[in-house]
């Protein structure tokens, strides 16, 4: 996540307090893992406003079955399905699981 984007995420999370969740649309395992880590445990590159700031936000990917099941099927078809076909969904979700595992281990 770019540094400017980190600042915006931090501000919005601070302003809204509880009940905030992050929903990702990242295209590969590495970016998914990095982004998830950033909004849970802090910026892993230690360069941005979220360096050392564990927001601890629940994070999901729009490809996850538990997200998909809550979205009307026609909306999901129009907004997501094409990318789900073209990208490596299993790898993306594995990246997310890895980030969650790392966060659970350090908290």
């Amino acid at each position: 996540m770019g540094l400017e984007d980190q600042a915006a995420v931090k501000r919005v999370a601070d302003e809204h307090g509880s009940g905030v969740v992050v929903l990702l649309g990242t295209p590969d395992a590495e970016s998914t893992q990095t982004l998830a880590q950033t909004v849970v445990a802090g910026d892993p590159s230690y360069a941005g406003p979220l360096a050392g700031v564990p927001l601890g936000l629940p994070v999901f990917h729009v490809f996850e079955p538990e997200v998909r099941d809550q979205v009307p099927i026609d909306v999901y078809e129009a907004q997501v399905a094409l990318m789900e076909m073209s990208l490596d969904r299993d790898a993306i979700l594995a990246g997310l699981r890895e980030a969650r595992r790392a966060a659970a281990a350090t908290s």
């Binding site: 649309g25 295209p27 909004v39 907004q79």
Partner: protein, 42 residues
Amino acid sequence: MELRGKKVIALGERDGVPGPAVAECAKRAGAEVVLTLTACYV
């Protein structure tokens, strides 16, 4: 996790699912979208 009633930060990507597309899914699942961003890494 139930999206209904949640405040969602939608973080999309130009070559993945763009922010507004992620946000539309969240909205239609009953969530309030509080931030929509699309990253472009090139």
